[in-house]
């Protein structure tokens, strides 16, 4: 029996544990910056651009937000692209809208490109030049084109960058010389909403195919479509998924993240996905939000699915829908974090994106149950234990270790092949966004159900990878299968690390996450949804075992009488696996010097067979800077003179083995 004081101590310990895990320690990226902001606009005409991939001419129109004092610079650049929307409204009767382009007499254009002015203002206050471009002409005709106008969106964005290159070099009307030398065209982030989301991915791929004339350093897709299942590697990426999306209701943008994870063995770019509970499709844009613009606005969820859903419907007494102000604040905060990390190099905000700090920043106006983040660490900072990417993952993990289960009533990889493209959760694709549809594959995932507290799932760690102490975190993505676990209660279970002498360290995931929630909503074919979120546990929290000799990772389902979940991406992550290179490396019999360096690094292969080595140089954002397939001579020199001061990762590959080295440029 616990006496009163004992109970108080127990409560205090519990609260302090929870507080420690959920404490918000990271600076807030959404607060206004020090710069006052000015705005401008340009309009070269409704039919000013003839895009190669589009049958009709396109407008060249946009806005710019920038620091009023353009002293110094060049400033980093963001380019924003809105999604598909009605294009014109009748001036005398704004409720009458059309999808024409150009607008006919008596009508004027809907300025969707102005819908993100609040975000442009925020980023400009931190020293960014933010351009937002109009795509009405594409929206008027894209449904009759096989790619839905995505190539045209990419070409249009590139054409705007060409125009801004002119503003940045010689200057031109309407800005004259204002922006000469002020834009850093090698440090650009792009954001696209909805069809604009796939558009910015298409643009990043186009820019790459052209030899990267512009430095696209980060791509954010906001509630995107992903009709073309494009795969973007090598550039930091973020998807933002609104749970109550009443337009792109299958939240198909999750595929950008899912598809790119393992598609390219050389991809070292981080990937993020942010799930915003209660958010709809349109409220991210003030131009699409009722009450904020004169024409063509709608609440997409209520308009398409009514207002009665207990989570997403605004008429239900239990509605968790975000107001437009809250939804825009949430976007403002998380998009700011993304661009300030990957464009602004403000690494202090990284814990928000990497699930190291799960408390939403104050500026987001959200609670911990309103937002969930997924994080796929760069390859150089990640060791995949079990990707759950094929039927074989039920038997053997990615490291080659054995996989087993005990007592589970379901233990099955699903959504991994054409015969099983989804996981039998629902007949509606809307409820299972990560899965495939028809012949298009989805994300392979491991389904597990239990009905006994001794049920478990284990991954044996292979001999070469037992030293967990060099990693920062253990992480995986998971979601509840609402079709089998029908209780509305959150789920909890235990993650155990077991060392070579059978010492066990156990952690309840509830101390680290709210992500094992029962997904809300009951709308006919749309809700609830299986949405994966990352759960991350610091390796250092697993005390009482030898972290250099970890034998197995075990999921023990001892916290509930029953449950059903899906799991993917079991991995170790963190920078600790990168060999500290303060002086000179001689591993594996390769000599890398000098380090730190101010200009070049030399790689001496000594007597090794140099032909078997390949090396890749990444910056800390995962961007591949240099790759070498063939090496001649015993010494290889990498010139860092053109790279800025900071940390770089040199990845040396020898067959299936690799070693990463941290290089410091002074």
């Amino acid at each position: 029996m616990i006496n009163k004081s004992g109970l108080s101590v127990a409560v205090l310990i519990f609260v302090s544990t929870v507080f420690k895990s959920f404490a918000q320690n990271t600076p807030d990226p959404g607060v206004k910056g020090p710069f006052t902001v000015s705005t401008g606009s340009y309009n070269l005409g409704d039919l000013a651009f003839n895009a190669p991939s589009f049958p009709k001419d396109i407008e060249m129109r946009g806005s710019v937000h920038y620091p009023s004092s353009l002293n110094g610079g060049p400033f980093p650049v963001l380019v924003l692209m809105h999604g598909r929307h009605e294009t014109c409204y009748k001036t005398s009767s704004p409720s009458v809208t059309t999808e024409d382009w150009p607008c006919i007499s008596g009508y004027q254009s809907i300025t969707s490109f102005e819908g993100y002015n609040y975000f442009a203002t925020q980023m400009a206050s931190h020293g960014y030049i933010v351009i937002s471009i109009s795509t009405n002409a594409i929206n008027a005709d894209d449904n009759s084109i096989a790619d839905r106008g995505m190539a045209a969106r990419a070409e249009l964005m590139q054409h705007h960058l060409d125009l801004w290159k002119t503003y940045n070099t010689t200057g031109a009307a309407p800005f004259g010389t204002l922006f000469i030398g002020k834009l850093d065209m090698k440090n650009i982030g792009t954001m696209g909403h909805s069809r604009g989301g796939e558009g910015v991915v298409a643009h990043a791929l186009l820019n790459k195919s052209l030899g990267s004339p512009y430095g696209i350093r980060a791509v954010l897709a906001l509630a995107p479509v992903d009709f073309g299942r494009k795969i973007l590697n090598g550039i930091p990426f973020m998807n933002i998924a609104p749970y109550c999306d009443g337009d792109v209701s299958d939240i198909q943008g999750v595929h950008f993240y899912d598809d790119a994870r393992y598609s390219d063995p050389l991809d070292n770019a981080p990937k993020h996905s942010v799930l915003l509970m209660g958010a709809n499709h349109n409220f991210f844009s003030t131009v699409w939000t009722p009450g904020s613009y004169i024409a063509g606005t709608s609440d997409d969820w209520d308009d398409n699915y009514g207002g009665n859903d207990p989570h997403c419907g605004t008429n239900s007494g239990t509605s968790k829908r975000l107001t437009p102000a809250k939804q825009q604040a949430a976007f403002n905060t998380y998009a700011s974090a993304f661009f300030r990390v990957y464009i602004g190099n403000e690494m202090a905000f990284a814990p928000i994106l990497e699930v190291d700090d799960i408390v939403p920043p104050v500026s987001s106006t959200l609670g911990t149950a309103d937002v969930f983040v997924s994080y796929h660490a760069p390859k150089s900072m990640r060791l995949d234990v079990n990707r759950e990417d094929s039927e074989n993952a039920e038997l053997t993990n990615t490291l080659g270790g054995a996989v087993s289960s005990s007592g589970l009533i379901k233990f099955d990889i699903c959504a991994d092949d054409a015969g099983e493209i989804n996981c039998s959760v629902s007949s509606s694709p809307d409820k299972e966004p990560h899965s495939g549809y028809k012949s298009v594959l989805g994300m392979s995932q491991l389904g597990m159900s239990w009905d006994n507290p001794t049920d478990s799932y284990e991954n044996i760690i292979s001999a070469n990878n037992k030293n967990f102490s060099i990693y920062k975190s253990l992480q995986f993505r998971a979601a509840i299968d609402f079709s089998e676990y029908t209780s509305v209660s959150d789920l909890d279970f235990t993650v155990q690390l077991i060392d070579a002498t059978s010492n066990v360290s156990s952690k309840s995931i509830s101390a680290y996450t709210h992500a094992m929630y029962h997904p809300p909503g009951s709308q006919s074919s749309e809700l609830p949804k299986v949405m994966f979120n990352t759960i991350k546990i610091p390796i250092s929290d697993f005390t009482g075992i030898d972290l250099t000799q970890v034998q197995k990772i075990k999921f023990l389902y001892n916290k509930s009488t029953q449950g059903s979940i899906y799991v993917v991406d079991l991995a170790l992550s963190g920078t600790s696996n990168v060999t500290s290179a303060e002086t000179v490396h001689t591993l594996p019999a390769i000599h890398i010097y000098p380090n730190p360096t101010s200009n070049v690094i030399n790689i001496d292969f000594g007597k090794n067979d140099k032909s078997v080595y390949k090396f890749l140089l990444y910056n800390m954002f995962g961007e591949l800077l240099y790759s070498s397939e063939s090496i001649s001579g015993n010494n290889q020199v990498i010139d860092l003179n053109n790279y800025s001061k900071g940390l770089y990762i040199l990845s040396v590959l020898n067959g299936d083995s690799s070693q990463n080295y941290k290089i410091t440029k002074n």
């Binding site: 999808e99 096989a146 792109v248 549809y437």
Partner: protein, 141 residues
């Protein structure tokens, strides 16, 4: 004078199924017309269709078509789907014809057995348009 084919597809459906008591919304196939190697399959509704980022999909049996053009005429919604002639000729008589906004049902979904009922439950994103039956007539214009 340019000559072209007009393809009439006679669809057997009960008109009353598309008149909802409260809103009196009427949605129907208004024309099926061949232009060279494409069949233009047009659906009209007394309420404009949602204009957003997802796609309207025309389902005829297990075949899906989504290349389209959307219009508004006053308060009427119009969507024309563009179907390759070969695909159109391969369609099966008696199959269900329905339209959805987005991917609403997996191909093996039980709900497909009674698509009218499914669409009635999801009336803003699903439209049941009867059974497909085609006869072809050729006209000179």
């Amino acid at each position: 004078m340019k000559s072209f084919l007009i393809v009439f597809a006679y669809l057997t459906f009960s008109f009353s199924e598309f008149v909802f008591a409260q809103e009196k919304i009427k949605t129907e196939i208004s024309s099926v017309e061949q232009k060279e190697q494409t069949v233009e399959f047009t659906i009209t509704s007394s309420r404009p269709f949602y204009s957003g980022n997802n796609i309207h999909i025309l389902h005829i049996g297990k075949k899906d078509f989504s290349l389209s053009k959307q219009y508004k005429k006053d308060k009427t919604g119009v969507i024309t789907f563009f179907i390759p002639l070969d695909d159109f000729n391969g369609l099966t008589e008696g199959d269900d014809v329905w339209m959805s906004y987005g991917n609403k049902l997996r191909s093996d979904a039980d709900e497909r057995k009674d698509i009218k009922r499914f669409c009635k439950k999801n009336e803003k994103t699903c439209w049941s348009l009867g059974k497909f039956s085609k006869q072809v007539q050729t006209h000179d214009k």
